[in-house]
């Protein structure tokens, strides 16, 4: 252990037993979350080891890590999901611990078990707890036995079409197809009638197989227009456990979160306390340690149901960091090294309001189709209370092989209204050219009167944004864009990617040839 005293001996720094902290951590992930963990390592005086596929040789996480190890071809199954290669990379580089980020191997109990066997520390829960909460059916049984309310559904996964049909009939349509190993909306399908059941099962199983390597699915009663509220929990290896309050993640498209906020506008102190206590109870029942999240659905009558445990650092963790004032990645690393929690429940409070918008490489105008490609220009938003966690840079090609998340724009302000205004302005200032992103769409979500009033449910996008990208404001912006393109063509004819200007006789103005055609002569404009 060679931590320099100037890095560890600050007055607020938690006393860590000498020799206990890792010298080197391997980050088994890519993109913005790998960057986030690398930054935490750097601040803690820990060396970071990145791993990368052939598609990511130039990626930001590779640029920022102290070391980088290639682990295979672009498809995730041959690289980021290849446990053997990742463990080998850790052993070769001398890393004692592996941070899995989210997605990929983060919630794979086989990987956690392999790490335990190879004497590597998996920065996450123990493999038994991971296996339990990762199996949605077993998790629900455990929660029911612990007296925690759950959504009515099948008691186990099945392969028999008639079992699914019978279960759907007894639950009553609409029902939801869910992947046993699921998360992030993958493998999920809503089914409104028996006719739709078979295709939904087929698609759900195929997507579950490609996302998690396991095609088992089950059915659950579909709760119409719920809110999605989750509680962050930290649990050390000695049984110490605190919650860091809630995040509301109701704004979703395709059952995937795109905007999260904390605190939830739906909770009063009493309900918040009750749900927090239930979250702690759920994590104790699961034998959980390290950072994790208990997800609930909150129905319009304010009844809440256990949904699942997210056994990982979550995409939306920064809003909790900003509202509660705790660095979750640092806490994860401390707990994994064996340190006891220094946080006491009575010292933890929510302060102000935070919102996160997920900037995806997707086109909101075509129902969020993926939009991989080159980032031709990037200007990140700046200002007080604005944080942009991203894995991108100008000139980078967003690969087609992985999740479309480019980064997360997070704001904090004194209250919800101020946070909404700050987010709206920050999204306006988020300039990513060359690919389509969700930034402009999210601006309109944040500015929507129903969002401003806090009436957020998982049906919000479908209800208020059946389509997007038209209207007076859009037309004005388009007109300005065309004006700018005309001005640019006039004043900078030889742009970086344009052809040299053509010689033209009898004109005082530099002729412009890169774009459009110039009608010679200048006749009188219309309407004058």
């Amino acid at each position: 252990m060679t931590r320099s005293p100037d890095r560890s001996a600050g007055p607020k720094s938690r006393p860590v037993k000498k020799g206990a902290m890792f010298e080197k951590i391997l980050i088994a992930n890519r993109g913005e979350i790998a960057v986030r963990v690398i930054r935490a390592c750097r601040e803690m005086g820990i060396r970071s080891v990145a791993v990368y596929s052939e598609a990511d040789a130039r990626s930001l996480h590779v640029q920022l890590a102290d070391e980088a190890v290639p682990i295979g071809p672009a498809p995730a199954v041959d690289s980021y999901l290849d446990m053997g290669r990742i463990v080998e990379a850790a052993q070769r580089s001398g890393a004692r611990a592996i941070h899995p980020g989210y997605g990929f191997l983060a919630e794979n109990p086989d990987f956690a078990r392999l790490c335990e066997k190879e004497k590597l520390i998996f920065i996450g829960p123990n493999s038994a707890a991971l296996a339990l909460v990762g199996d949605k059916v077993r998790a629900r049984q455990t929660m029911e036995e612990a007296g925690i309310p759950t959504i009515p559904g099948m008691k186990s996964a099945s392969r028999l079409p008639e079992e699914f049909r019978a279960a759907a009939r007894s639950l009553g349509y609409p029902v939801m197809v869910k992947a046993s190993a699921g998360g992030g909306g993958k493998g999920m399908r809503i089914v409104h009638d028996e006719k739709g059941l078979a295709p939904a099962l087929e698609a759900g199983m195929r997507e579950a197989k490609s996302s998690f390597g396991d095609d088992s699915v089950f059915l659950e009663k579909y709760i119409v227009e719920p809110r999605h509220v989750e509680f962050q929990v930290l649990a050390d290896n000695a049984g110490g456990m605190v919650h860091l309050f809630e995040r509301e993640c109701s704004i979703q498209r395709r059952h995937q979160k795109i905007l999260e906020e904390a605190p939830s506008p739906a909770l009063g102190p009493e309900l918040r306390m009750k749900m927090a206590e239930t979250a702690i109870k759920a994590m104790r029942a699961a034998g959980y340690n390290n950072a994790g999240t208990v997800e609930f659905l909150l129905d319009p009558d304010r009844r809440f149901y256990f949904l699942e445990v997210n056994a990982r650092l979550q995409v939306e963790h920064p809003i909790t960091e900003l509202v509660v004032g705790v660095d979750l990645v640092r806490q994860q690393i401390l707990m994994a090294s064996g340190a006891k929690l220094s946080l006491r429940q009575e010292d933890l409070h929510q302060r102000g309001h935070a919102i996160e918008c997920r900037i995806y490489a997707e086109d909101p105008k075509t129902n969020f189709l993926p939009s991989p490609g080159r980032i031709a220009f990037l200007r990140e938003p700046k200002g007080p209370g604005i944080r942009f966690d991203s894995g991108i840079f100008e000139g980078w090609d967003v690969p087609v092989h992985y999740d479309p998340i480019l980064g997360k724009l997070i704001v904090w302000a004194e209250d919800r209204e101020a946070a909404c205004r700050r987010m709206s302005a920050a999204l306006d200032d988020c300039v990513i050219l060359g690919i389509h992103t969700t930034a402009g769409f999210l601006r309109d979500v944040v500015d929507h009167p129903e969002f401003r009033s806090g009436r957020t449910t998982t049906a919000f996008i479908g209800k208020h944004f059946p389509s997007w990208g038209t209207g007076v404001e859009e037309e004005e912006k388009e007109r300005l864009a065309l004006a700018a393109a005309a001005f640019d063509a006039l004043t900078q004819p030889a742009g970086p990617a344009s052809v040299p200007p053509r010689e033209t006789k009898g004109q005082n103005v530099t002729p412009w040839t890169a774009l459009g055609r110039w009608r010679a002569g200048g006749h009188e404009p219309h309407g004058v």
């Binding site: 490609s210 993926p370 864009a481 700018a484 990617a497």
Partner: protein, 171 residues
């Protein structure tokens, strides 16, 4: 007076923008809409438009023959208007025999091909599934018809330019 007109293609529509340099300001015309603005270039990629007491920061860059423009959080792709003024430039185009060309709406990998040459298809029937960024996208037939050609196979990486399937619409 310096007046010129530019013909652009944006979002599938041809637009004519008049631009007049009045020395201190520029006047832009788009049909009946007229904008007089003081325009300043901050850098190769940033313009400031001052008009009516407000300032708009506009970012732009050129990439592969396109001008990419960002206005208050919205991105626009502006290209040179093609010769000949086609009225509609959106959607699937037709071959010389009048067959419909089906393209992928996004780059990705073909993971399922549900039809073969000679198959009869109905409108909205799934033809193939393209996956990108872990998302499946079903491509459906826009018409009742018959599959004339299949230019792709399962496992192919496809872009959004090349036709994947040709369909002869039922008359």
């Amino acid at each position: 007076m310096n007046l010129m007109e530019f013909e652009f293609l944006v979002d599938g529509a041809i637009r004519t923008i008049g631009l007049e340099n009045r020395g201190r300001t520029f006047v832009f015309r788009d049909g009946e809409n007229v904008l007089e603005a003081d325009v300043r270039r901050v850098s190769a990629n940033e313009l400031l438009f001052h008009f009516g007491g407000r300032t708009a920061r506009i970012y732009l860059t050129r990439d592969a023959g396109r001008t990419l423009v960002s206005v208050a959080g919205r991105e626009f792709i502006v290209t040179e208007a093609p010769q000949g003024h086609a009225t509609s430039l959106k959607g699937d185009e037709k071959t010389s025999e009048g067959n419909l060309r089906i393209k992928a709406p996004m780059p990705g990998k073909v993971i399922k091909l549900s039809v073969g040459e000679g198959d009869e298809v109905r409108r909205n029937q799934t033809l193939l599934i393209v996956e990108a960024m872990k998302m499946e996208n079903e491509i459906q037939s826009p018409v009742d018809g018959m599959i004339k050609k299949v230019h792709t196979a399962v496992g192919d990486f496809v872009d959004s330019e090349k036709p994947l399937i040709e369909i002869e619409a039922k008359k």
